[in-house]
């Protein structure tokens, strides 16, 4: 079965306290040199049938109306090889 991934990240202008909390913790754990961290969501979809343009268009619509809230989030749809 084909796998399609949808990555959803907060828009750059929206405060991301989760990412910040991770970033702040890193030096304490001995990890230096990370200038910024953003935390988002990754959805792995197992798609029945062919992942053609029509299927991708549907997934794009699904991401736009449901998986992401485009008021605050951006998303990217990718087919996994």
């Amino acid at each position: 079965m084909a796998r399609v991934v949808v990555d959803v990240m907060l828009k750059p202008e929206i405060l991301d306290p989760q990412g910040q909390a991770v970033q702040r913790a890193l030096p304490r754990l001995g990890f230096e040199g990370i200038a910024d961290v953003r935390q988002g969501k990754r959805f792995e979809l197992d798609v029945e049938g062919p992942v053609d343009d029509a299927a991708l268009a549907r997934i794009h619509e699904m991401a736009e109306t449901f998986l992401a809230n485009t008021v605050i989030e951006d998303f990217v749809v990718k087919v996994e090889s």
């Binding site: 907060l10 989760q18 449901f66 605050i72």
Partner: protein, 226 residues
């Protein structure tokens, strides 16, 4: 004559019984509405209660927003049906775009439960007419995803039109922009807020205050006099 106030139960709604009780204490006839049922059973107003509908999975309110009952509510809210969204209900209203903006994880990343001071900024909505503009009230606040965000343009517009209905006092509990605790739509029939007025209607339980009763008496007066 009294009014019928409907309270929606989604899978995972928690404060539906409290909202029904608050409606009853205010003198209204409480009516349970079920998420799968498109029919609103002739209610005069709807409360979307707090909780974790669908576990708040994906995003708070994101899955409930697509339920059959919401189809009817969205349609009727646009033509004037009074709707109050409390906490998870507020999240559903923003996800449904009946109210602008979005709700995000609290900036401190923890669930917060406390007695919260608010200022009623707009006392002309269907749900706030029993308060005075500028009145300070205390009601419980309890949420994980209570940080209200919207872009600057939307925020400015809300401020200019007096649509910021409630603001946090005594410390912003979740990082909401401009201390916004609740907003209204332009017509004043759809109101959403994070704190829980339905938990503040009896002196005996909760924080021991009844500051939240005004929401329910406001709508009742409006409906009965209409």
């Amino acid at each position: 004559m009294t009014a019928r106030i409907g309270v929606v139960t989604f899978p995972g709604t928690l404060d539906d019984r409290d909202a029904l009780r608050a409606a009853r204490i205010a003198g209204a006839e409480p009516v349970s509405l079920w998420h799968r049922d498109k029919d609103l059973h002739q209610v005069d107003a709807v409360v979307l209660a707090g909780g974790f509908s669908y576990g708040d999975y994906l995003r708070a309110g994101a899955i409930s927003r697509f339920s059959p009952v919401m189809e009817t509510i969205i349609e009727q809210a646009r033509s004037g049906l009074p709707v109050l969204g409390i906490c998870n209900g507020f999240q559903v209203l923003t996800e449904a775009h009946l109210l602008p903006g979005a709700m995000l994880r609290n900036d401190h990343l923890h669930f917060v439960c406390r007695d919260q001071k608010l200022r009623v900024e707009n006392a002309t909505t269907a749900w706030t007419a029993d308060y005075e503009a500028g009145q300070e009230i205390s009601v419980p606040l309890k949420n994980m995803d209570g940080r209200y965000v919207a872009d600057e343009r939307v925020l400015d517009e809300l401020e200019a039109e007096g649509r910021v209905a409630f603001r946090y006092l005594g410390g912003n509990p979740n990082g909401s922009l401009r201390d916004i605790a609740g907003i209204t739509n332009a017509a004043g029939n759809v109101v959403g807020l994070m704190p829980h007025p339905e938990h503040a209607v009896e002196p005996l339980v909760g924080t021991g205050r009844t500051d939240g009763l005004g929401f329910f008496t406001s709508i009742l007066k409006k409906l009965v006099s209409a």
